[in-house]
Amino acid sequence: MIRLDGVGQVFEGRGGRVQALDGIDLHVRQNEFVTLIGRSGCGKSTLLRLIAGLLPPTYGGVEVAGEPVTGPRRDVSFMFQRPALLPWRSVISNVMLPVEISGGDSERSKSQYRDRAHELLDLVGLKGFERRLPHELSGGMQQRVSLCRSLIRSPKVMLMDEPFSALDALTRTELSAELQRIQMELATTIVFVTHSIEEAVVLADRVAVLTPRPGRLREIVEIDIPRPRSLGQNAHLADVAQISGHLHGLLAERPHDQVDVPEARR
């Protein structure tokens, strides 16, 4: 579904050249959930923006659904760390924004999208809040609205940049359970950036570990713990802990002393 071949990104800034990414090869299958972890500044957001078509790669190829990415696509949605809601729009019209800006599919009418928006809000527990303005909602509720907005056009691919990092632990658990359900139901392909190793393990089919300067894929770890999984209480705590330990080791490595930890690898 998503294919990156030898992708690199160089920023020419005022402070000189920054090699943000280099030699990224990644193939994400349809309906796969890939999480992306790495230290701050190692190029995770840049990678997502490349896939989203918000940024052309300096070199290498990016494909979504078999087509080279030339700009933002209608079947790819992007969700940010912050809710990014328009403060003057009600909850429902924030959710409808994508349809309004660049239209929906031709086979679905505006009122069908509106029904879908109500359905989605209902799904994330925001029934009855449709007419509220964003400032009347808590941060967690705002992020749910943002989730609904990114789902409104039933995207084939969802790119999520630390979407739950500003939320409290409980809300985070609820939303990640929600996200897994939605993914299974809609067969969406998801690339999800997070700073939480545990979250990365619990959500993912595969965890991609990025190392900094320049951002390279250090390792891709398969997670074959049966679903549904959940943060917090969990029947597979031992598995999660073991993989987390391994990932932690990878992240803590300095570029010079890269040693493999084969006994921890699955």
Binding site: A84, L86, W88
Partner: protein, 260 residues
């Protein structure tokens, strides 16, 4: 907060009452000063003299107020019509910003009273040069506030629109301009007070009507009370226009009140 003075800070009645009390106290002081120090009316008329003067010719004074109001509003609306597109262009293109910005600053730096006679030479004695003066005085704050407001649109909102494949005009009209509205209103509130001043300045020079003309001609006949009546009318006009904008803002931007 503390319970002290809570009625005075929270109640709606107090919100209306307090400014009135302040105003009455100030007028009382003024009146007391004219009586206690027995000031000559042609130096400082008492409030009663001023009211009397107004009541002698209310029709005339209100008509002149209407003239000033028309010039003020005309210039103010024109400044919005001219200023907002200029701000849009400035935000849109960095080249244009560099090109136009020093020019705007320069025009704004000119003491407006200095060009009032020129405006008369160019445009005659009618209303038009006054409207132009108001435009010159108040379009700068409108341009600056609009441009600053649009530039302060959070990057994540801009990025969101880009990720939705929004066109440039959608980005500017659906997002940036609306986002800038609270700041635009701040600029408008500054501008409206300047607009009133601008119309008076223009009427000092080569005018046959308006409150500024009333003031300048009353100076020649030492009719201080008449000048005070005109000044009072100007202040009232200015205050009403200002609060008109405040009300409009509350009505148009309910979302902006709470996010402060």
């Amino acid at each position: 907060m503390s319970s002290r003075g809570s009625w005075l800070t929270t109640s709606r009645t107090a919100a209306v009452l307090l400014p009135v009390v302040g105003l009455i106290a100030a007028i009382g002081l003024w009146w007391a000063a004219t009586v206690v120090f027995t000031i000559e009316p042609f130096l400082l008329p008492s409030p009663l003299d001023v009211v009397e003067t107004f009541l002698e010719q209310p029709g005339y004074l209100l008509k002149e107020t209407g003239v000033s109001l028309l010039e003020t509003m005309g210039g103010f609306l024109l400044a919005i019509v001219v200023g907002v597109p200029i701000a849009l262009l400035i935000v849109r293109s960095a080249v244009l910003e560099r090109l136009v910005y020093p020019l705007l600053l320069g025009v704004n730096a000119i003491p407006k009273i200095a060009i009032a006679p020129l405006l008369v030479v160019w445009m005659g004695f009618g209303m038009f040069p006054k409207v132009v003066m108001v435009l010159l005085v108040c379009f700068f704050p409108i341009v600056i506030s609009t441009a600053t407001g649009m530039k302060s649109t959070p990057v994540e909102l801009v990025e969101l629109l880009r990720s939705l494949n929004a066109s440039r005009s959608q980005e500017y009209f659906k997002l940036r301009l609306t986002y800038a509205m609270p700041q635009i209103f701040t600029g408008l509130k500054v501008a409206i007070s300047l607009a009133v001043i601008g119309s008076v300045i223009a009427e000092f020079v080569g005018a046959q009507a308006g409150l500024g003309y009333v003031i300048s001609s009353s100076g020649q006949s030492a009719d201080t009370a008449l000048a005070f009546a005109a000044i009072t009318l100007l202040s009232i006009m200015s205050i009403i226009l200002f609060y008109g904008l405040v009300l409009l803002e509350q009505k148009l931007l309910p979302w902006a009140q709470e996010t402060r």
